[in-house]
């Protein structure tokens, strides 16, 4: 065999969510501290491929990313054709905890972006003891809407174009074209109504402003990193949440937008590697293998 093969392996795990059977698709690479990565709304786990191919990460972390049901290679549950997909805070947390439990992960670190960053705050509020560290990318307790969600799912507009077209402006102008357009391709591949359904959690069911003050970073450290070009979750939105959370660490990432791990991997690793180093230092004996 002469072909160059990525170190990423994809498999399915069976998990019951909301009382319904699901096959969750997940990918992983590396060994060491389990690091579960949560993709943005309307996308899938491919957003973390660059991290999974970075030996500086995978030498010390078992990086895992699962596709939420309805996303990527995780199909909707049986009977989906009669449902309107709507992500809720409790359902999202159930999926993350169900995935971690099914794989038997030992107090994983969790890193989520956008809706994944919001749910990281929810995990910190309700389930902190289950995790060794939480990392929120483009995370805030609440954000102001900037478009009417009804544009995202209608028969007279191509959903792939409008979903990707809207989020395209959240990518920093400095991000390289190849990474920018691969990020947008992931959005173009979302199923009908899925991005909109994810935003139900973001805009309707996931306002955490009243609860983030309960986060105890002494139980689980919390790192928040936000790109300066993200006008959906602005650095000010992240700072507003952090102001209520003693011990939360905030970093504003220069020349990055809403999709730091996929829109400009080289720039992102400048910010995330020191955070991962901190997580390793928290658990000095956990990096010896799964």
């Amino acid at each position: 065999m002469t072909g160059r093969i990525d170190p990423i392996v994809g498999r399915y795990v069976h998990v019951a969510l909301g009382g319904r059977a699901h096959r969750l698709y997940f990918e992983e690479a590396g060994q060491g501290i389990p690091l579960v990565c949560l993709h943005t709304a309307g996308a899938d786990g491919r957003q973390f491929h660059h991290l999974m191919r970075d030996a500086a990460v995978t030498d010390h972390f078992r990086v895992l990313a699962f596709d939420l049901p309805w996303h990527g290679k995780s199909s909707p549950p049986e009977g989906w054709q009669r449902d309107e997909y709507r992500l809720t805070a409790s359902g999202y947390a159930e999926a993350i905890r169900g995935f971690c439990g099914a794989l038997g992960l030992d107090r994983p670190a969790v890193m989520g972006c956008s809706i994944g960053g919001r749910i990281v705050l929810y995990l910190a509020i309700h389930h902190a003891a289950e995790f060794r560290a939480l990392v929120g990318l483009e995370a805030a307790a609440c954000q102001q809407p900037w478009y009417d969600m009804d544009w995202l799912d209608r028969q007279d507009i191509d959903g792939s174009g409008v979903c990707a077209g809207l989020v395209s402006g959240l990518i920093a102008p400095q991000s390289p074209d190849a990474a920018r357009w691969e990020t947008l391709w992931h959005y173009m591949q979302g199923g009908p109504g899925v991005f909109k359904g994810d935003l139900h959690f973001y805009r309707v069911d996931g306002d955490l402003r009243a609860d983030v003050g309960r986060i105890d970073t002494g139980v689980c450290p919390l790192f928040l990193l936000t790109g300066e070009y993200d006008f959906s979750c602005t650095p000010e939105d992240t700072a507003a949440a952090a102001a209520q959370i003693p011990g939360a660490e905030v970093t504003v990432m220069r020349e990055l937008g809403h999709f730091p791990m996929s829109e400009n991997p080289a720039q992102f690793r400048r910010y995330i590697l020191p955070v991962l180093e901190r997580i390793r230092a928290l658990t000095p004996r956990a990096g010896s293998g799964p």
Partner: protein, 132 residues
């Protein structure tokens, strides 16, 4: 001088867009008139199958348009920098902050977002806008 540079930027749109085959293909189903206002100066972009047939400068009297994009000169100047600063890099960043307004029938905009975003941002390719 700055006002003149902005005028040259928008008046360069036919050359910038019509020479871009990929952009023209993306807009192949777009035929309409788009109102763009730079400060107090209105312009009308006449678009036919993705091609910018002409850019007309107002004032206009009882002239229809499908949708309008309006912003102050300072905001357009930032938006058209080769590498715009945060909050000025996207039309929706500018509408969220209130620096731009977008009004009218938004269906053609939403159905052709990549096309219209690239058309409106095309003057970034001109060095003259960034000149002091």
């Amino acid at each position: 001088m700055t006002e003149a540079a902005l005028a040259r930027a928008i008046e360069a749109l036919p050359d910038l867009v019509n020479a871009d085959a990929a952009l023209m293909r993306r807009g192949r189903l777009v035929s309409l008139e788009l109102r763009v206002e730079l400060g107090d100066t209105p312009y009308q972009l006449v678009i036919e199958r993705g091609r910018i047939e002409r850019v007309e400068r107002g004032p206009f009297v009882l002239r229809s348009w499908r949708f309008a994009v309006r912003g102050g000169e300072a905001a357009w100047r930032q938006f058209w920098l080769p590498c715009p600063p945060p909050r000025y890099h996207d039309i929706f960043a500018l509408t969220k902050s209130g620096a731009f307004t977008i009004e009218g029938d938004l269906h053609p905009l939403m159905a052709n977002l990549f096309y219209f975003k690239d058309v409106l941002a095309a003057p970034r390719r001109l060095a003259m806008v960034s000149a002091p």
